[in-house]
Symmetry: C2
Subunit: 413 residues, 2 copies
């Protein structure tokens, strides 16, 4: 390990092919925002879009905007756009509802494909809303299904011929560990199970290749690395080979074969639209397009490369400058095994996170004792990595976290 200087990191910024993207985002003065893995920063153009959808499309266009402004088609329009970012075909993705609700749809669809089997494999330490949604579904099904929880390296062995489906988050929300989508999907298919993936912490942060991995269904978040805005609707993927064959239970009129015929009984659309339910939160949905458009102009391989380098540097600098204060790496040390975030364990994690907030470094705390830092390559600079560590070192060195008395601004997602 060589001792780096702030100038070394500034040099990296100078040759960063993504450097120009930072200007497209609003970032509050003095803030180093290492929480884009919870909620991405605001693209400047999103403010214009919000104004347009409210003051022009809604105010002037009124209900006519369903057609003239393309509101009705937005879930498909934005799905087509975002598809290449996750390795999907344009007709395999919609942007709709929320991640949890979309997960309910796709897991229900996956379980129906193996009606004799009763086991679904999940990672118990995953962000728990996925467990909760599947538990709700299984209770509703009331057919004796059970979740088989396994952790990390044990996932592969947990997939056997009792398994109807696996449902795994590609990047762990706390540790940042990447699961091997190709291998786990291949194992699932080898035993006749379906593979459902959650891309919440991977979409927009690294290349994702759903079709290359032969994934059956997936969901993902657009308000983290894709910068779609708070609570922006989720992306939902269903492989084309399943279109017209699966069923999903949230059968609203947007998913009907002939929605404007107002037929009494449901007939599913034969394509990805079957995953739609009803009218969407239009302002939020429309605004998401801005973040997607920016993402599509960036080279996802360059994003990944910068992400790995930033997180490597962050680990190196924290260990070098703050190691004596008991910061223990929780995330994988190998960058290829790690998403765009780094977690450290420290017994005083919570007050330290509060002190970091007060110093302008926004990161978050995840019980127990876990301090999480996210690096969004489109707007975080290498020099921010230096400065964040510098402020952290200052807080630890002066023990100023012991006297933090400011307002708690705990991040909650």
């Amino acid at each position: 390990m060589t001792t780096k200087t702030r100038t070394d990191l500034q040099d990296l910024d100078r040759v960063d092919p993504l450097a120009g993207f930072r200007e497209e985002f609003f970032l509050p003065k003095g803030v180093i925002y290492l929480n884009g893995n919870s909620l991405g920063a605001m693209p400047l153009a999103a403010a214009e879009r919000a104004k347009r959808v409210v003051e022009y499309e809604w105010a002037e266009g009124l209900i006519g905007s369903m057609n003239t402004a393309g509101w009705y088609e937005l879930p498909s329009t934005l799905g087509r756009k975002i598809a290449p970012l996750v390795g999907a075909k344009p007709n395999e993705v919609v942007l709709t509802d929320a991640t949890g609700i979309d997960l309910y749809k796709v897991v229900a669809a996956a379980l129906k494909m193996q009606p004799e089997r009763r086991v679904i494999v999940m990672e118990g330490s995953n962000f728990p809303t996925n467990n909760y949604m599947v538990q709700g579904l299984l209770e509703e099904l009331d057919k004796g299904h059970a979740i088989r929880f396994a952790e990390a390296n044990d996932l592969m062995d947990a997939i056997d011929e009792d398994v109807a489906a696996i449902c795994i988050t590609q990047v762990h929300y706390k540790t940042g560990r990447i699961h091997d989508m190709a291998a786990l999907t291949q194992k699932a298919h080898a035993v006749g199970a379906a593979a459902v993936w959650d891309l919440c912490h991977s979409a927009g942060a690294m290349p994702v290749d759903l079709n290359g991995c032969n994934v059956d269904f997936a969901v993902g978040c657009t308000y983290k690395y894709i910068n779609g805005g708070p609570g922006a609707p989720a992306l939902l993927f269903a492989a084309e080979r399943h279109h017209g064959k699966y069923t999903q239970p949230l059968t609203g009129w947007y998913g009907h074969a002939a929605p404007f015929d107002f037929e009494r009984d449901y007939r599913p659309a034969g394509d990805i639209r079957q995953m739609l339910t009803g009218t969407q939160a239009t302002a939020s949905l429309s605004m998401a397009e801005i973040g997607i458009d920016i993402m599509l102009r960036a080279d996802i391989n360059a994003i990944r490369e910068k992400s790995m380098r930033m997180t490597d540097l962050f680990i190196e600098l924290v260990e070098e400058r703050c190691g004596e204060f008991g910061f223990e790496l929780v995330s994988p040390r190998d960058a290829t095994q790690r998403g765009s975030q780094v977690s450290f364990r420290n017994e005083d994690g919570y007050p330290i996170v509060r002190a970091l907030h007060d110093s302008g470094v926004i990161c978050d705390y995840r019980a127990p004792a876990n301090v999480r830092f996210g690096f969004a390559p489109l707007y975080i600079r290498y020099v921010d990595v230096w400065d964040a560590v510098d402020r952290l070192h200052d807080i630890l060195d002066k023990q100023s976290w012991k006297e933090t008395r400011y307002q708690v601004r705990a991040a909650v997602t």
Copy 2:
């Protein structure tokens, strides 16, 4: 029937106690907007709110706005606000997700309360997404449940001791007919069934008394008469007596007893929060507060009185001035049996609606041959009623609808 003049209607506007509210809305020049029953007009303050939630709360506050801007609590905060508008207690309502998804939750909860019964009573001619959502749920349950469809006056007789729940829309989307919520709920309870009501076309248009009628669960739209914005999240009501006793299947972390403990397994919150799933489309949700706040300042009895008078006048004027052109009333003639909309049947309804759009009168067409006019009392004037009929008469008299060649601006919800 006396022949009225435009001046007579202007006189009514002069003494209208709601007249001042019109200034709080943006209405495009030259447009008479009789489609507030699909999408309410934009309150001027909504533009400011959209700007605030995007350019300040998101851009400046970033993830901290979950707490500091109250994002996390918005579903409950807005639920408490809207509760009195539908005759609910503050702790019985949340604003969350979409109507169809909320309907899925509450019907699932209602059916579980009568686990031995297999029939749910619905109105087949209702806006069909309600049928679709329940059909999806019943297929998922796979326990032999069936919908018993009945129309209008036959609904009461359809409720017998096989029935687990009724699920009825208070005001019919096409005819505007009002169902007797008190009597049908009473009948349901008398046979041991639960009562679920959909308030999409009644909330904000007339007094609704969920607790006075002893309703068990309800959902409703906030983007029609409540002017919450396109696709604004729905309201969901669960009577307090059921809290802590029901289950609903969309069990996300917002509905967990301790959402920030990140427990592996779901434990439901014991209150209305159990109906929540996950992170909401925040910009859309926040903007809905503007429409709710306006509504709460208006006297709902005055709204209802104006609504009945406007629709009475509209019927009178259409029949007097356009009757010869084959406009046949579809809605109930008795205003007390009618919501805030009027539908007429005309074989040439579709091109006539197009010609009306071109003349600036926005209404909509519902197959077959149904022309629908909605009257939102907060921003529609009595003189608009006159002018709309005048333009309709002109179109019919000159048969100008036969040459309509302009862009179709068909409303779709």
